[in-house]
Each structure stands twice: as C-alpha cells, then as structure tokens.
C-alpha cells in the first residue's frame, strides 16, 4: 500500500480508538458510576483490585516483550 494511503488508514483507525477510549474512560464508566452513586460491595471491590492487578501484568508483559520481539525481527531482517 502507498505510504500516504497507509497513514490515512492509520489516522482513521487511531482516531476511532482514541475518541472511543476517551469516551469510555472519562464519560461513560465514571458517569454511570457517579450518577448511580454505587457503593462498592466486597465482591465488587475484589474485582476492582483484580482488575488493577491484571491490567498491570498484561500491560507490563506487552511493554517488556514488544521491543524484544521487534529487535529480534529487525536483526533477522538485516541478516
């Protein structure tokens, strides 16, 4: 694909993701939680804690492994 076409395609995709995630993070989820005034039960609090823990692990693995995979691929390509 032409680099300019690829950039246009990426721009569309990332705009959707950026706006979608922003809507979810600062309007939809906190909006619903604020308006309902929901008080966390023990099981919901446990789920919340596991979410924080799980998100950290998955993000950490992706960020640690990603550049290593890229480095190995680039090395292979250059050889």
């Amino acid at each position: 694909m032409d680099p300019q076409q690829q950039l246009n395609k990426d721009a569309k995709l990332c705009t959707r993701w950026a706006l979608g995630l922003t809507f979810l993070f600062v309007l939809l989820f906190p909006g619903v939680m604020f308006l309902t005034g929901y008080q966390y039960t023990l099981s919901f609090f446990k789920g919340w804690t596991y979410l924080a823990f799980g998100w950290l692990i998955i993000a950490g693995i992706c960020i640690i492994v990603g550049p290593v995979v890229e480095f190995v691929r680039e090395k292979k390509d250059s050889e």
Binding site: L7, L21, I63
Partner: protein, 522 residues
C-alpha cells in the same frame, strides 16, 4: 518523613544507574560501528518501532509525581482517586495519537513541532509557541529533578543540593553521548524496572494483607462515604483538573512530539494508543495498592503526599524502601532525559538554526546539540535549587502548570488539523487564553477565600476555574477567528519544506529559514 535508608544508598543508586546507562550507551555506539550524525542524534533515525516507542512514551509520562501523587489521591479520595488520576492523565496520550499521525502526514521530515508552526503560521506565532514550549520543558524538568532530590533527601538523608546536582548529571551524560536513541533505550529499561517493582508491591500487599481487610478498614473509616464509591465530589473535581491541566503538558511538550517524529510511519499512532492503555495501569495499580490499601490498613502519615514510600516500607521493610526509591529514580531519569532531548532539539532547531547559524553543517549541529544538552542538564540542577529556595511546592506547580501552558493546546492542534486556522486566531487565542486563565484563577481564589495567597490559589475550585478558562478563551478566539476570516491553508505546500540536518552544508536551506505565509483567501 523519617529517613528510612542511609545516604550511601542514595549515592549508590545514582552511581549504579548513571554509570550503568552511560556504559550501555557507549557499548551501543561501538556496536553500531557508524558515526553519529546530527539527524540521528535528534530523531533516532526516524526508525523506532511501535514497542520501543510505546515503552518510551510510558517512561516519559511516568513522572515521580505519578507515583507519589496518585497514591496520595488514593489515600485521600478512596477508589475514585486512582481511577481519576489514571483516566485523567492517559486520555491526553490517547488523543495525542491523532495529532501525532497528522504531523507524520503533513510534515514527515520535521524535527520539532515548532518547526511545523513556523511554516504553518507567522513569526510571532513561532516565537510565542517557542516561549510556551520552553516554559513547559523547563518547568517539567525542574519539577522532575526537584521531586527526585526531595525523595532522595527524605528517604536517605542525602543532601538535597548535592542530589539536585547529581540527578541531572546521571541522565545528561548518556543523553549527550547517544542522543534520542539512547534516551529511548534507557526509557525501555526504566519502564521494565517500574513494571517489575510495581508488580512486587502489588503482589506483596495482596498476599500480606488480603483484599478483605483493606475493604473492612475502608468501610470503618469516618470518611467511608466517599472512599468506596466513584460518586466522590472531591475525587471528581480532582479528576477534572487533572484532565484539563494535563493537556498542556503533553500537547505543548516537544518530548511527546519527538517520539512521534522518531517513530516509523506505521508505529507513530499505534505507539500512543498502546502507550496510553498501558500507562493507565501504572497510577491505577500504584495508587490502589500503596494509596487506597494504606487508607484501609489505617496507616497514618504527616502528609498524604508521602504515603507511597511509607506504605512501601510498611509492606516490605528496608527492601520496600530501596525498591520504591529505585522505581522513583527510574521515573526521574527517563522523564529528565526525555525533557532534556526536547529542550536540546528546540534550541538547536528553532533558535540556533533559525536565528543564529542557518549555515551550520551536520557536524556543527551535532556538536552544538551536545553542548546544549550538557549546558542545560547542569543548569537545570541550579534552577531546581532556586525553585526549592523560593519555597514553591511540587503539588502546587503540578496543578497550576496547565494554566500557564495550556493556552497553546488548541491553537497548535488546530494549526495541524484545520485548514481555516489563522495566524491572528492562533496568536491571540494562545496569549489571551493564558492571561484570561491567570486572571480567572486569581479572581476566583479571591472571591472564594477573601484573599490571594498560595493556599487560596491551590484550592480545587480556583484551579478548576483557571484551567477551564484557558481552554474556553483560547478555543473561542482560535475557532471564532478561523470561521470569520474565511482563509484556507494548503497543507500540501509543507511537505518539502523540512530537510534532514545531514543535508545541511555551507548554504542554508531557504525553506527552513523562511516563515510560512501561504495562507490564501478562498
């Protein structure tokens, strides 16, 4: 806060990490076998992949304040604090993906966002935005160094002035040698350390105390009404200030534009989306496990800002203090290096090459870049000490920063994405936005408290009013003038105006020296 470690631990951490990263950079340079060029120094060859770019974005956005202040919000506001800190500061990175890809499309060979501004707008806009950008970089670097020095002093008893001089030295040397690429590699290792240490803390809190005891503790607190719900008004107010105030520190900070410039075309936008989602987990986890848990376990501190290291020590003893200090120092180093390379690029591209020596060769640009990096690195240590002498608190600067720098956010973004944005709209939008914000901030502090002092100005409502006013005024002027003026800018003309530093010879590149003036009446 009582000192938890001896000062020798502080010196040892500085020595190990400063020396270690310098050694890795020298080794990398030798292995590469190619001589460094000015273009390579300032753009890392524009060949960075999505993985390394995401890690670097995370490292640059993980300030010492992210670790300390997010925990403080968890301790004060309960579960809404970590969420608002994480969500309120990750959306700027996510939304920055949109402008990053637009810069790639419209000015693929630019070195700084100000270089683009110079071609898109006129000379006075370039100078004004240059002022905003330098102010952002200098304040952030000073905050980062001072935050690190205060943490080293309070955790190890290390002399605060010595720490403020030694901290910038650790990242200045390897940045001076390896340029932006060295900063990327160091960022990767720093991010790995931060994630691993955070995982250790989270696992330790979970296994040592369990979730139930924390929950029961939060339920029994006098402030339990807002500790276990997202419907917390102070939490929401903090979230709003965090959202509005942080736009300036991303969109006007060359450090984030630089990561887009250095990335491959295919990586630029994805890196910000992945980086934003992954970064969310850092304040969310650290504030949940070291802030909310500390409140639930009934740990008492003199100031909520110091809850994270106290909780770290409570969970793992001296090992916890060393791990926390290491994590904090990693955050300081990577943000410091990112800011230092940003300042260097701005000074070399937008001041030196534009106004002082447009004929500079690639070799000359490289040597100037290295001198600027060293000079600024050392000068920032002195500036940080000056801030400390003036008694300006870090939390205050963090919250107030948006009022001073966010005026440029809408004009810069419109300049990149909207054909109708005008020189007059951008200039007066940015300038009057900042002035209006400062006036609204001071006026509201006076009306609410009856007087103006640091405490009154630091209140949640004056901060929110000041930060919002900046956006409202700059948005109305920039968009309003663009609509009224009925002028359009042709972005296609920009593409060939930015040349590689390595193409610089004895003759200046006319297009780079000239300012943009291609706005045409439709």
């Amino acid at each position: 806060m009582n000192e938890m470690l001896s000062s020798s631990v502080g010196y040892l951490i500085l020595l190990i990490f400063g020396g270690g990263f310098t050694a890795v950079t020298i080794m990398m340079q030798r292995r590469q076998g190619k001589e460094m060029t000015a273009e390579q120094f300032s753009t890392a060859g524009r060949n960075v992949g999505v993985g390394l770019a995401s890690a670097s974005i995370i490292a640059a956005w993980t300030w010492a304040a992210t670790l300390m202040m997010s925990s403080s919000t968890g301790y004060q506001y309960g579960i809404s604090g970590p969420y608002w800190y994480a969500a309120g500061a990750s959306i700027q990175i996510l939304l920055f993906a949109i402008v990053a890809i637009n810069l790639k499309k419209k000015a693929p060979n630019a070195h700084t966002f100000l270089e683009f501004i110079a071609q898109r707008f006129d000379v006075k806009n370039h100078r004004l935005m240059l002022g905003f950008a330098l102010m952002t970089n200098i304040i952030v670097t000073a905050m980062v160094i001072l935050g690190g020095a205060i943490a080293l002093n309070s955790l190890t008893g290390m002399n605060i002035f010595v720490a403020a001089f030694l901290i910038p030295l650790t990242f200045t040397i390897y940045t001076m040698i390896g340029g932006l690429k060295a900063s990327f590699v160091a960022d990767y290792f720093n991010t790995v350390f931060i994630f691993v240490i955070l995982f250790i803390f989270a696992a330790a809190v979970y296994y040592k105390f369990g979730v139930t005891s924390v929950y029961e503790g939060l339920k029994n607190l006098p402030s339990s009404q807002h500790m276990l719900t997202m419907a917390s008004v102070p939490g929401l107010l903090f979230g709003m200030i965090n959202i509005i105030g942080n736009f300036g520190t991303v969109f006007v900070d060359q450090a984030y534009w630089q990561r887009a410039i250095a990335s491959k075309n295919s990586a630029a936008s994805k890196a910000y989306i992945y980086g934003g989602i992954a970064w969310f987990s850092i304040p969310f986890a650290v504030a949940t496990f070291l802030g909310v848990s500390a409140a639930g376990l009934g740990i008492a501190v003199d100031s909520p800002d110091s809850i994270a290291p106290v909780m770290a020590s409570h969970v793992l003893g001296n090992l916890g203090s060393i791990l926390f200090l290491t994590m904090l120092f990693m955050a300081v180093m990577s943000t410091g290096a990112a800011e230092l390379t940003a300042i260097t690029n701005i000074i070399v591209t937008d001041i030196y090459l534009r106004s002082i020596n447009p004929k500079a060769s690639s070799k000359k640009i490289l040597s100037t870049s290295r001198k600027v990096t060293l000079g600024f690195g050392l000068a920032m240590g002195v500036f940080s000490i000056l801030l400390f002498y003036l008694g300006i608190s870090l939390g205050f600067v963090y919250m107030a920063m948006g009022i001073f720098v966010s005026g440029a956010v809408i004009p810069v973004t419109l300049g990149l994405m909207w054909r109708k944005a005008t020189n007059t709209g951008a200039f007066y939008g940015a300038l009057l936005g900042m002035i209006g914000g400062v006036v609204a901030w001071n006026t509201s502090a006076y009306l609410i408290n009856g007087h103006i002092n640091v405490e009154a100005l630091g209140g949640l409502y004056p901060m929110l009013i000041g930060n919002s006013t900046v956006f409202i005024i700059s948005g109305i002027i920039s968009i309003g003038h663009g609509l009224l003026a009925k002028k359009e800018f042709d972005f296609d003309e920009l593409k060939d105006k930015f040349k590689s530093f390595d193409e610089h010879g004895d003759e200046p590149l006319r297009e780079e020296v000239a300012y943009g003036s291609t706005t045409t009446v439709k």
